[in-house]
Symmetry: C2
Subunit: 483 residues, 2 copies
């Protein structure tokens, strides 16, 4: 929903028409090695898409990528950053790291009374090779762009392999990238789309000796498969985890519940950052509205969700639609894992009758029942665990060490904040403290939050630090005498 | 041999006395988990050493390292850089990368007519965990310090595992580091020495789940073992390769031969950067002294080595001594791999009668006989390969793709320089062009050469780029509302 003030009054209609113009058409990209067409996307809103994408041979894409590389290297860090800026703006880190490398220097070594030795040294920034970016089904742009631009800006051709049910946003991006590259007189095969209809084709590409880096966002199973099998490549994996919130006490009970309700509803919990476990002491919490028992906290959170979703227009806008049949299945089987505090309901979408909209399901369980909440379950079925008093922080740390991207904390006690802060340093997770307003634990701000820490199994990289770009290129030097 | 002008007239004697004072003594470091003492070092100069080092349990060192970590994190990037500066100066890259991370910031999000959302965000630099630095037998300091300081300065405790025959330099370094740390009020167990008398102990430590990074310099066999087996750690490996020099033509024939002779003699070729194959066209080369046949080039290079080593004092100073019995064995078996152009000779050392000093052996072979030169053979036994005209550059590139750290080129033709430059960009190796003076292909200048490129199997990292430090720490953030 683009803001009319920022993007113009007709932006929403324009965007919709532009997307609908793609429906039922071939999405041609002028890529080499095309063996056929595929149309695999299924809209969670029940809209017929029928966009057909070129299925290209992986080896042909790699060959084309190699052929495109020297010209990309030749225009240098500044040229590449300029071209990438025309595609998108997120190349600042890559540019900074490359700018540290001097283009050339004259080196002198004193020789006592004799004239100094003088050498000219040239330093060439060389991309490490073909980059593969594997997108996910729920965030096809947000989660594809960091790897795409980090790899491209540092000198590497990029093959974009979108999720088979979220190809269009990637295909549009690839098309624009190819247009900008061609306009700049560069080989458009620096960016290609690998729309594969066979999972084996993705696996073959990921383990191809020429593929030197892989950016992956998605489920833990394929992420771990990539880390274990694509040993020829540097793998940057953003997976998922049991994000958790520790409630120790609060002086803003209602605002806390409102904040948590929004987090659990936003995009039906289909975010790698959404809270999956809420840890509440078994003997309850102190609040500005008096002592609240564990059961009261659970019930009040359920009520808060109900209130938030009372207006169907708000509900459908915030919940979005369930992207995958797997997630629908997880909602269906969730009641087996605990006591249902709030059941998931199907919500009709006024505009899209086929949309699969679901409200969150809320479970209660004992902290001792670890299998109820220790396993990551993507989607809107979080658990609220009853943990022994004062054990919330320890339990949270243990969960994070298994895998987590976000942790929240509610407390009125500075010493609890300090202890939790140190726990998150040890386990490696971003901490949000006492969120009661319009910021939510599952949201990362683009230029001031380190999304993904890269210290626990939920992610082996952050998307916004030097490590994310510095290892994607090498410096090849040459030197010779000068007078 | 310290310069008397720079280090004082008595520096050499002072240094010798300081080392001799260690002989036959326990080298105590006050480390935990000591199970015994070992004295494994054997001097290549035939000097009795008998220094006894504490053998400590790897798990005890890891436990002590973990206990030391929070205090190290607490003093921050500036504090760590300061302490490291007192131990050594090579921490600039690590400091630069850490300084990019703001300590804290206030973030505002406009809310239309309402007051903006304001959050305070804190960013903590957290070392990824225990670092293991595995030294080599020939360069126990130069090759240990980059990893040691990169890991330490970025927040990680470091366990130094020296080569069992080159412990003393590492032990002295560790002792100084521990003294400086303790003086700064920090836990000295941030730097410990792991003097192991069993190879299995090194393997167990390298694959320990708590070890998060490994810096290794040494042979390809153990380096590849580490890369394949220490999957829990980021491995920074500097191995060895078939460094090569392509001679296409020269306008300084004598100076070229002098330069190559010095390279082959320096430290008896026991450097990971020493030339192992010299590629000369089968039909000879153009020089300022007329056309020279392949055999003439070989013979003239041998004569140049003879002349350079004619003065025994120069010879012993430049050659050093053969560090390992394995290298002596490789010299003995080298004649099997080609035609001996110059035989290796044993040279008596005036001061150290037990020193194993050897002059370089020079072999001639055909380029087609790949097994003669394609395999890395550490030590002073390079091959001069007769390659079909104009194929030198292609062959060099193929060798580099297998593994190489340095390449040299002699040519008078700019187009050959250009072609070779592009070949080194593709294969990833540092190129030295027409070295005829006091700079040698096997030497890297500390602050202006990118030692190790990290693009071919000879090394998976450079010692002097952002990638060497940026992945050793993570940023853990926390955020909360502010008014």
């Amino acid at each position: 929903m683009p803001s009319p003030k920022v993007y113009g009054e007709t932006a929403q209609d324009d965007g919709r028409r532009a997307v609908e113009a793609c429906f039922g058409q071939d999405f041609d990209l002028g890529q080499p090695g095309r063996s056929g067409w595929m149309a695999s996307e299924r809209s969670p809103y029940g809209v017929e898409l029928g966009v057909r994408y070129p299925v290209c041979d992986g080896q042909a894409l790699i060959d084309a990528a190699h052929a495109a590389m020297p010209g990309w290297q030749r225009i240098g860090a500044q040229g590449r950053a300029g071209v990438c800026l025309e595609i998108l703006e997120a190349v600042a880190y890559a540019y900074r790291e490359m700018k540290f490398i001097p283009h050339e220097t004259v080196w002198e070594k004193p020789q006592g009374k004799n004239p100094p030795l003088k050498m000219k040294k040239h330093f060439e920034i060389v991309g490490r090779g073909v980059a593969l970016v594997i997108g996910c089904g729920t965030f096809p742009t947000w989660n594809t762009y960091p790897g795409l631009f980090a790899a491209l800006a540092t000198g590497n051709p990029v093959i974009v392999k979108p999720h088979q049910n979220a190809i269009l946003p990637a295909a549009i991006t690839v098309r624009i990238a190819r247009e900008v590259l061609a306009e700049a007189g560069l080989d458009p095969n620096l960016v290609t789309l690998a729309a594969f209809d066979k999972h084996e084709a993705t696996q073959a590409l990921a383990t191809h000796p020429a593929v030197k880096s892989i950016d992956f966002t998605g489920g833990n199973a394929f992420g771990q498969w990539l880390i274990s099998n694509a040993k020829q490549a540097q793998v940057y994996a953003e997976l998922a985890g049991v994000n958790n919130v520790v409630i120790e006490s609060t002086d803003q009970y209602k605002a806390m519940l409102r904040n948590l309700a929004f987090t659990l509803c936003l995009y039906s919990g289909q975010m790698c950052t959404t809270t999956q476990a809420i840890l509440v002491p078994a003997d309850g919490i102190d609040t500005d509205q008096g002592r609240k028992s564990y059961d009261e906290v659970c019930a009040d959170l359920a009520t808060s969700i109900d209130k938030f979703l009372a207006d169907p227009a708000v509900a459908t806008a915030v919940l979005g639609a369930i992207q995958s049949p797997d997630t629908l299945a997880r909602i269906a089987e969730a009641p087996a894992h605990g006591r249902v505090v709030r059941a998931s309901t199907k919500i009709e979408h006024a505009e899209f009758p086929g949309a699969e909209v679901r409200s969150p399901l809320l479970l209660a369980c004992d902290a001792a029942d670890e299998k109820a909440y220790m396993e990551e379950r993507f989607g809107p079925s979080p658990s609220s665990s009853r943990s022994p008093t004062a054990r919330g922080g320890d339990l949270s740390e243990r969960i994070v060490r298994e895998s987590a991207l976000t942790v929240g904390l509610y407390t009125t006690k500075p010493e609890v904040v300090d202890a939790m802060t140190e726990a998150t340093w040890r386990a490696g997770v971003a901490l949000s403290i006492n969120l009661t307003g319009g910021v939510f634990v599952n949201q990362s701000a683009g230029f001031s939050d380190y999304h993904g820490v890269g210290m626990n199994p939920a992610a082996n990289a952050s998307l916004s630090d030097s490590a994310f770009v510095a290892n994607r290129f090498r410096v090849v030097q040459r030197r010779h005498h000068v007078e």
